[in-house]
Amino acid sequence: MLLEANGVVSVRGERTLFNGLNLAVEPGQLWQVQGPNGAGKSSFLRILAGLLPAQAGQVHFRGQSIADVSSQYHSELLFIGHKAGIKPELTAIENLEFYAAIQGHPLTAPPYELLEQLGLVGLEDIPAQRLSAGQQRRIALARLWLNSASLWILDEPFTSLDVSGIDLLHQRFQQHLASGGAVILTSHQALNDLPVQVHTLALEYQFE
């Protein structure tokens, strides 16, 4: 068992987002967290990543509480949240250089080919603030090719990607799952054309 959540409770303000959520992720699995806006999809992902404390319940990574093994957990985790962590003053290459270095795969050469595949050709050395939101998102997603984390937690990775971008991402997911990794993501789109089995966890909007 790679990641396991037991009875996770989250209360934001006066509202209970979810109560007693369970999830068990095995290597090679892709999980989609579904639900309407405000159901707490992002909060759930942030709890799984260890950014947000849960009001109750535990999250275990390889059988140990993530709070106890946070260092090991974070070295095997890749989290790309709603805010992607791309510094707007730096170029795509400089941003990726940083993340590659801290993930233990320092870049030897600028990853032009990868950026080209992601539709960022000609934009590699322009400060990210001059690029569109979608293009900045692609820079963040390029990190998926530049690390060897086993667990990916991605918040709406397909937003503002075009068809070929989505295709490329699907391929990468497939590779990752085949090599024993796992993916947890949220998405508004149905993942029908993904050539792997998609496990789903549905959240419902709680009015209380």
């Binding site: 032009y112 080209e116 050709v121 000609g122 590699e124 050395d125």
Partner: protein, 67 residues
Amino acid sequence: MQFDSFSSFIAMGGYGMYVWSSMLVTFIGLGALAIEAKWVRRTLKREAQAQQARAQRIQRAKRASTQ
């Protein structure tokens, strides 16, 4: 010629420190402006080269996609 020897020229009647530091700062200031202008021009040249490389990359990508 107001000074009879080089050392008296450097000494400036005991005010050497003041006179020469003034001259130094003045010419460093003006020189820095000139050097900065040259330096900016060089970064602009690099920018133009980067632009060229970028255009080539885009063209290559276009060619690859039409094939």
